[in-house]
């Protein structure tokens, strides 16, 4: 019934760079766009109504019902974090649980849920097949905390889809994104890069632009299930470093992952998540044919094109520079004006109730 285009879309985690870009791309395509996050948005987007809300609290359910949301894009999932503490786990697992619980039930208006996951859900190990298809995520119980979180949250989304057949759920396993603010991007941008001695992993990269485009297409589409999203082709770490103009220093001990993380952090200042150290040893490549078949779309930038673009400093700026406080004030003002203008037409009281 609601396989028509989405009318009222809620994006969680809208203040992270990916969320901001998704919001920017979705805004002209949907009539009503809402975003929520714990932090203020970094750039002004007057097409979107911003709500301060924490996914770890049960307010999401109320928000969804009051705003009559029909599409939820859940991007408040932390994958690329050097701190693997309770807060990360809570945001990933408890947060997803809360969001899904808010979308569940007969009174829920939600018909479409898109959950962001990551290629990190597979982990990286030498005994895995060279190319990972979607059904292989259950190969292990997860060696690192982020991988375990991702497996758990995907399981939650899967269970939710089974229990709520009227709601279409898509899980996107986004490839390792390379941008200024991701730890992989910062790691590769160092002039001297410590690497593991005797390993040259295969990397599959995803340009930030393609990641946002994939989420937008999933939000507007009706495809269900799990999809790998990563650029075509493979780049070796040594190749990537040569393209970045960096010099690799193969000094990290292969069998002491914890020590290597400390070593990377103390020499380059980059907090590398533990699943990334696995990647830097064994590499990870996924099969995106499922995405291609169902969405009739594949990332525009291959792995090689993504790293070339990043190296040339042309990698599209996903967000503008953090806007000054005036701009945030301006955004609030514009939103209020828009609401006041709309208030004449009935049925938009919910918009004001949101704030």
């Amino acid at each position: 019934m609601t396989s028509l285009s989405p009318q009222r879309v809620l994006i969680t985690g809208v203040s992270n760079p990916l969320g901001a870009e998704v919001a920017r791309r979705l805004a002209p395509q949907v009539p009503f766009l809402f975003g929520c996050d714990v932090a203020d948005p970094v750039s002004a987007n007057e097409e979107m109504d911003f709500v301060h809300a924490d996914t770890r609290q049960s307010v999401i359910g109320k928000l969804v019902r009051r705003l009559r949301i029909d599409t939820v894009v859940h991007l408040a999932v932390i994958v690329d974090s050097g701190r693997e503490d309770r807060a990360t786990h809570e945001t990933n697992v408890i947060g997803t649980m809360n969001v899904l619980a808010g979308c569940a039930g007969p009174s829920s208006p939600v018909r479409r849920v898109v959950v962001k996951s990551s290629q990190a859900v597979y982990g990286a190990r030498p005994d895995y097949p060279s190319v990972l298809a979607e059904e292989m995520a259950s190969l292990s119980r997860g060696d690192t905390s982020i991988t375990r979180d991702l497996i758990e949250l995907e399981q939650l989304a899967h269970d939710f889809a089974l229990r709520n057949p009227e709601c279409r759920v898509a899980r996107l396993r986004l490839g390792y994104r390379i941008a200024r603010e991701t730890s992989l991007g910062r790691y590769l941008s160092q002039p001297l890069v410590p690497t593991f001695a005797g390993y040259d992993p295969r990397l599959q990269l995803l340009a930030e632009e393609d990641a946002a485009e994939a989420v937008v297409r999933a939000a507007l589409g009706v495809q269900e299930g799990v999809y790998n999203v990563a650029g075509d082709g493979v780049v070796l770490l040594s190749q990537a470093l040569a393209i970045m103009g960096a010099r690799s220093v193969p000094l990290l001990p292969p069998y002491a992952r914890w020590a290597s993380r400390v070593a990377i952090r103390s020499t380059t200042g980059v907090r590398v998540p533990s699943h990334l150290t696995e990647l830097l040893m064994f590499g990870s490549v996924v099969d995106c044919s499922h995405l291609d078949a169902e969405f009739r779309w594949r990332p525009v930038y291959g792995s090689r094109a993504a790293i070339d673009l990043f190296a040339q400093g042309k990698s599209e700026e996903v967000i503008e520079a953090p806007s000054p406080p005036q701009e945030y004030e301006l955004q609030v003002y514009l939103q209020r004006r828009r609401r006041e203008r709309r208030n004449g037409t009935a049925g938009h009281a919910a918009l004001t109730a949101g704030r």
Partner: protein
């Protein structure tokens, strides 16, 4: 994106770049000692002169002794090897590997080394090369022997050197070795991949030649006394994979690999400590240290048998355990018979 302007790569931020550009000064080139023109020309032409001289010497020696002392073809191969390495170093990051991490150009640059081992060291005699298809998928199934997998390198070299259409066979390796530093990197770069049914299927679907050793480490780790006795072929997983992918199975018998490291004993305690499947003791290892790792120059024979056409079975036959096991036994018997035949044809272990 292969032809990229390298000058356009900046590692610093724009602001920093501008500041550096402003601070830059024109520095005169350092006065370097410029050698006289004649010396420079000599230096440039030195390799050519050396080859010419060697050629002259080779001709003289042939005239004097009446036989080939310095084989110029081999010398030229060495020169080519050095040249290829130089060319490889020049390509920088501008090359592509496939999704398994295989770098064909890089692999082929090592061929002269393996060719020398193939022709001169183990004097491999290969028969039945016409059974290896020039194109399309096929699963090569071979016996496994020797403590280190030199037999895989020789089968691969045979197909690349002796076949009308040189092809790269892609061997499947135990995941244990793929995780080892340097070794795993080398194996991946030269086209090997993990022995996982999924990888096999994917390679066969790309119409590749896949080389598999169903004996695995049970074959390489057996004692010298058990040589040329095939071990168990697992649960016949390779047959199921071949049926599903619609690829014929080509049995391969390798004679000679058993004698390169005559394994007297296995020390499981040390193997367990080092995380290895076995720790061999040979007459030379570990007594002579790294010297003990030099394989003995036994005489080798490789036979490629007629294909077993398992692709005639429908894909659902892959789940028929009875059929799979009988086909697996058929392949195993062919290889075992091939071993006996070739052992008879070989005059001695080292001649």
């Amino acid at each position: 994106m292969s032809s990229r302007d390298t000058a356009a790569v900046y590692t610093e931020a724009p602001r920093e770049r501008r500041r550096n550009a402003q601070n830059a000064k024109v520095v005169p080139a350092a006065p370097r000692l410029r050698l006289p023109k004649a010396v420079r020309r000599l230096r440039r032409n030195a390799p050519m002169y050396a080859i010419q001289g060697l050629n002259e010497l080779s001709t003289r020696l042939r005239e004097v002794t009446g036989r080939e002392v310095i084989d110029m073809n081999r010398v030229m191969e060495l020169v080519q090897f050095a040249y290829q390495q130089q060319q490889l170093a020049k390509r920088g990051p501008n090359f592509t590997v496939d999704e398994f991490g295989f770098d064909a150009e890089w692999t082929e640059s090592f061929l002269p080394v393996f060719k020398a081992l193939y022709r001169d060291y183990w004097r491999v005699e290969t028969t039945g090369m016409e059974n290896v298809p020039a194109s399309g998928r096929a699963l090569l199934v071979a016996n496994h022997a020797g403590v280190l997998p030199w037999d895989a390198t020789m089968i691969k070299t045979a197909i690349f050197v002796q076949h009308r259409h040189p092809r790269h066979a892609r061997a499947l390796v135990a995941s244990l070795f793929m995780g080892m530093p340097f070794l795993g990197w080398f194996l991946r770069r030269t086209g090997q991949t993990v022995g996982h049914p999924d990888d096999t299927r994917r390679l066969l679907e790309q119409d590749q030649l896949v080389l598999v050793f169903p004996e695995g480490v049970r074959g390489t780790g057996k004692a010298y006394a058990d040589r040329y006795k095939l071990r168990r072929f697992g649960r016949g997983g390779f047959v199921s994979t071949a049926i599903r992918a619609g690829a014929p199975i080509i049995p391969v018998s390798v004679v000679g690999a058993e004698e390169i490291y005559p394994m007297i004993a296995d020390v499981p305690a040390v193997a367990k400590l080092m995380g290895l499947p076995y720790f061999p003791v040979t007459p030379f290892w570990p007594w002579l240290g790294p010297l003990g790792m030099i394989p003995l120059p036994s005489k080798w024979r490789i036979q490629f048998h007629a294909p077993v056409h398992v692709e005639t079975h429908p894909p659902e036959a892959a789940d028929d355990q009875n059929l799979v096991m009988s086909l697996s036994d058929q392949v195993r018997d062919t290889i075992q018979q091939g071993l006996y035949d070739n052992l008879k044809l070989r005059r001695g272990v080292f001649v």
